[in-house]
Symmetry: C2
Subunit: 146 residues, 2 copies
């Protein structure tokens, strides 16, 4: 769709680092200083809802989402992982896969809830350093899938 | 787990209406006056993350989530469906499946974002009436799965 930010200019750097690209999906490491390790799995073609996809496409996409979750757990050791496909702002299927920590800015709220504290800089910088290992960990998880 | 609200007292009315129960999951129509048609798909046994489940269990659970989405789209005609598994408050796998409307209290934010408007009472009551058809529509969608 011409007016969809996730459809156009796929080759441009988005709001993060492209970690992996397949025929149907791509995976981005989101650049969010509050939430190191936050990843997004984006369906390449325009579709708004999961049930707009075939059963096979849904399964493929969820397998990628879970591969990212697995890698995030292994690399980041979060207290919880959050998964969400909202798309109210950008109705083009994309999954947020977010490592959550008890001291992060929004915990135990969602990342869309009001900010309630500030994680110590040292902790955030350790997590940002840990997240450097995520791209390879995610690619390795995906290589095990197929 | 003894201290998990989603593990204990499964037979008690929760914060909504039990629509369907299987060996592994149950589905609740959430009683939220702002968000008619909001459903929750809850894994019956205690597990915190999707990747704590086997591949088969994940697929089964997501098929139920998507069946609920399909029924919600058919019955409620939302502008968007939101899917989320957070579990920061209650780390026991449960999926929120939420019909979203451009005039709902939080749109285009998440339902955890600050409330920004109030849908007209008449509109909400029409949606609440439409949601009465959801339990049967969800059960019918599930009956097609297996």
């Amino acid at each position: 769709m011409t007016n969809c930010i996730l459809c156009k200019d796929e080759s441009k750097p988005e709001e993060g680092q492209l970690i992996w690209r397949g025929d149907d999906c791509r995976i981005i490491l989101v650049n969010d200083p509050d939430l190191p390790g936050f990843c997004r799995v984006i369906w390449n073609h325009h579709a708004a809802e999961m049930t707009d996809l075939t059963y096979g496409e849904r399964e493929h996409l969820m397998n990628l989402v879970f591969a990212v979750e697995e890698a995030i757990r292994h690399v980041m050791h979060p207290d919880k992982v959050n998964l969400a496909a909202l798309g109210n702002m950008v109705p083009h299927i994309h999954w947020h896969v977010i490592p959550r920590f008890k001291d992060d800015a929004f915990y135990p709220g969602s990342i869309w809830s009001p900010r309630i504290h500030q994680a110590p800089e040292l902790v955030l910088s350790m997590r940002q350093k840990a997240a450097l290992d995520l791209p390879n960990a995610i690619r390795e998880q995906i290589s095990r899938l197929y």
